[in-house]
Subunit: 341 residues, 4 copies
Amino acid sequence: MQQPIAGIYCPHLVPLDERGQIHEEELRRYVDWLIASGVHGLYPNGSTGEFTRFTPEERRRIVRIVCDQAAGRVPVLAGAAEAHIGETLDACAEYAEYGARAVAIVSPFYYKLSAESVYAYFREIARQSPIDVTLYNIPMFASPIDVPTIRRLAEFERIVGIKDSSGDLAFMMRMMEAVKPVRPDFVFLTGWEALLLPMLLMGCDGGTHATSGVVPELTRKLYDLTRAGELEEARRLQFRLLELFDTMLYSADFPEGFRAAVELRGIRLGNSRQPLSDTQQVDRQQLSHVLQCILADFGVVEQPADGCPPRTQHASLTAERDQVGHVAQMVVEELRRRGVM
Amino acid sequence: MQQPIAGIYCPHLVPLDERGQIHEEELRRYVDWLIASGVHGLYPNGSTGEFTRFTPEERRRIVRIVCDQAAGRVPVLAGAAEAHIGETLDACAEYAEYGARAVAIVSPFYYKLSAESVYAYFREIARQSPIDVTLYNIPMFASPIDVPTIRRLAEFERIVGIKDSSGDLAFMMRMMEAVKPVRPDFVFLTGWEALLLPMLLMGCDGGTHATSGVVPELTRKLYDLTRAGELEEARRLQFRLLELFDTMLYSADFPEGFRAAVELRGIRLGNSRQPLSDTQQVDRQQLSHVLQCILADFGVVEQPADGCPPRTQHASLTAERDQVGHVAQMVVEELRRRGVM
Amino acid sequence: MQQPIAGIYCPHLVPLDERGQIHEEELRRYVDWLIASGVHGLYPNGSTGEFTRFTPEERRRIVRIVCDQAAGRVPVLAGAAEAHIGETLDACAEYAEYGARAVAIVSPFYYKLSAESVYAYFREIARQSPIDVTLYNIPMFASPIDVPTIRRLAEFERIVGIKDSSGDLAFMMRMMEAVKPVRPDFVFLTGWEALLLPMLLMGCDGGTHATSGVVPELTRKLYDLTRAGELEEARRLQFRLLELFDTMLYSADFPEGFRAAVELRGIRLGNSRQPLSDTQQVDRQQLSHVLQCILADFGVVEQPADGCPPRTQHASLTAERDQVGHVAQMVVEELRRRGVM
Amino acid sequence: MQQPIAGIYCPHLVPLDERGQIHEEELRRYVDWLIASGVHGLYPNGSTGEFTRFTPEERRRIVRIVCDQAAGRVPVLAGAAEAHIGETLDACAEYAEYGARAVAIVSPFYYKLSAESVYAYFREIARQSPIDVTLYNIPMFASPIDVPTIRRLAEFERIVGIKDSSGDLAFMMRMMEAVKPVRPDFVFLTGWEALLLPMLLMGCDGGTHATSGVVPELTRKLYDLTRAGELEEARRLQFRLLELFDTMLYSADFPEGFRAAVELRGIRLGNSRQPLSDTQQVDRQQLSHVLQCILADFGVVEQPADGCPPRTQHASLTAERDQVGHVAQMVVEELRRRGVM
């Protein structure tokens, strides 16, 4: 019998070496650490995994390494989107051989396609794939998959679930309402960890989130608390994870903030293939400091050597940013006044 | 001591007579029915109440009637936004005299204002209002109120809460996280009944929703179930209310779908001041039929004389609409083929 | 015979006195100045005129003053949108009596209405209005009017033209293509002065722009140059007006930048009814300085006493702003490094 | 001396054979036809060329074939965006060897990057590319390139121009205003043929448009008329091309409408790698009929055997679509009334 797709999946980053190539040894170490930390499954070649920044050969190699290292301890959901359906099906076949539990296929991107085109695309894959398929809806990056399209696609046995990263809980509920009557086993995973607790309460089977690559023991804990009905403690943890999530998500271009945080956990990810500007490199250092303080509060890393502001302060980073904005504005006004600018 | 602002508030529609004027008698009857049905408070001059379609004098009259009829049985949150701050403050003073518990003021609309302007606007009102003020954030219609702005405004004692209709649960959580440490008594109401249950679970004090003008006994029941921790029954009710909500919201221009539903409950609302096209009038009749079937399933109205489709069918109206689209497409193709179009 | 609606119309601001009330004397002086400066028509109660920030009585008074002062020297296009159709029709009747050439009615706002609703709304007005109506499409603030709706509305004789502020030249061309075959006399005015020259070249009859309240002699000149086929000079002027326009539009919430510029021309507009925050008040002073330099280059005002940067610098304000951003960022980093923030 | 980048460039589709593989012979025939029809340059691997639907090896092969077949008759602007900068630079080197005049590199896509990231990305390429680079801004599909970023990038000699497909003429003017003072030779090409004439009049050097793969003789003619100052004839042609463009763009998911039209010109493009649903296949046939009628009016193809509606009718396809919508709606209402739906 097949492993269920449920619980906490981790769409992990891929460590790179100094030449910008896949750092296989560190990737294997990262996989081991994630499994030891409690994730229920792994998700290579997701958006967090920067799948578009690798070549087709590299994407295959990543899945091969991850499946090999997981070695059946946890199921692997392998991102398999390639340039066109033929290539994608070839990847599906390979990933099945590597031992992946299922593939995850993002809706077509670059071109913004209509619902009919999205349907036609996944229908073709559903008919030919030798391995179970989960859909991946991420409307901020790719063509949206709407509720009627999900329902039509749920008629194909090969399509077994969806990961939705819209962050819209009502949309998730609409999908469940439309699909569950015709396909009770269909799996719903949320990609928006800001709402993991309420998503689970309303019926999601689990989540697959970038944050699980940073604090897998905590997202797992949140999952367990929720399943156990310990809602008060779960609620507190959800709010604290929201702060961490917002800091990682909004302080740098995705997934750079998550890369900074994973490195604080001791995984050497190396530099992204998307270069940073000079300003961004300075920002990155500051962000790393803030993240270390937040992670230290969770007790998962040490505080920085030069200390942290009192808890209440970085508890409301948004507010701080606001102040930063004000100071900057005042400085600029002053510079303008003096004619420097 | 003042009445608390919490629970289920109802932003109700305003009955009009045959000449399109306020139908005072029916409005009083509607108020009585809402109170009898369990709402914790009333909210005249909200978006559901079509406040922009009344003159300043009419808006005053509506609040006067509602406060008079409520007669202290439930608190009144009176929408007080007028053309400019001076006029708004005059309305605030009047509504205080009428006995309103607080006013609700929507963020400036038409012009899309920056956060600084939104702050300056509410600060002025906060400094001068003789009555408690709740902010009203509805980014689909008015200038958005962002998290840092909420936090800055929470420093004014006169500002006692916010109604947020963004439908974004993570945004609601960010507001609570930013404001509660400095202002533990600040009130958070959601205007997005699709998510009433999860909003309450994450810390909201209540909701103020158009749907409470249609099935007040059910939104009240959902509130009570959630507060009592009967989550399984609450969840089932929430899903069913979502279906009703979606049908009312997406089948006509807001708030026409809600008007159709309120009329099925026996309140004679009359025609909206926004006219319907010929096509829309036909649609309106169909919508009314669908709504009657949904409401009949809740047991709050009788089924239509000509019956309803089996439950499973209108349970997935979205799916049906999808089919409608397909049939229409086929017909159109055929007509094109014959050269009719 | 009726005056044609063509050329440069001015949607002007309304001077306020120290108590924030309409400053009639200054409004009359402004009207005289605009006519003397070459505008072909006046447009009270437009978006620039902050029509939503006045009461219904004030809006009527503004039109009465403007019509009275214009005294037939130029036609008046009076903004007549009120709370509902009945009120709007009353305003239409009054404005006809005041001697307005036509009314301009913005598409319904606050609620985002469907094309069918927009059609039903204008159809009702078209059937009953005692005065010619021009539609006003401004999708950034109000419900959009799409091409098929324009075409349907062009069947009503009372609807004589449209002002489009979308800034989308292709959209303007689509409207002309759809309407002109059935209604050759239909008038097309652009509300996007950034593109006045190309709009005229592609077939527009004129423009009605906020910038014409600031430099009416220059928008008129651009119109005349374009009509005379002196495209090279027109092109140069268009680029320079673009710089002025961008500075007024993007450096403050609309229409505050235009207010600052009009005041530099010697019209005392007073403070807006929308208050400024402390930061905004400082920004406003800086903006005024920059605007004075740009206007001085046109030769329409004196340079500020403390001089201006060399022409090339403020020629690319966007670029400057970019530098400002960089400096601010560096300062902020430094402050953060020192733990000040 | 290098060939100038100006005039009409064609971002062409790639013919596929029955197995969905590149049809080299037909591609060479298409290149010959485009050159014979008057294009000033070729643009393989653009958005029209569906570059994301080919593998890295296929993209290289396409450029090799096109450069070889062009054989210096017209310059080639080769789309060179690959998975990451290293791969992109390898492609640049190869395309230089093949004899491409320059490469065109789209802004990073999938992830929506900030201006700083977009700058850092192109800076890296500018520093290392062995061949001239044109930027490609297409905000509907990829991270936007804003005006300050363009200006900063224009400091690199290797970056010689930009293709902008935003369709926003004012944005194009802002770019020219910011860049030309520091880089008078910088090339501005528009990717929005709906506005080719006004773009050229305001200073663009040319265009590179999907429509040039369909009616190259007509876009070339429009370019020549505009350059010759024959504005009246140019204007008429621009309006007619707008109708063709709208039909191709809005009647199917891009670039399917263009594929249908190119096939009518006698190029056998084969099926796209993005499959069509059953409904879309029917739509495609209808679209082909409409396109044949429009192209027949230009005199570039024969009318369909079963004739065309009178000119006025398909002259306003938008209007027709409107009617289609109405008929469909009526039919649906009828079906609903009968309880079929």
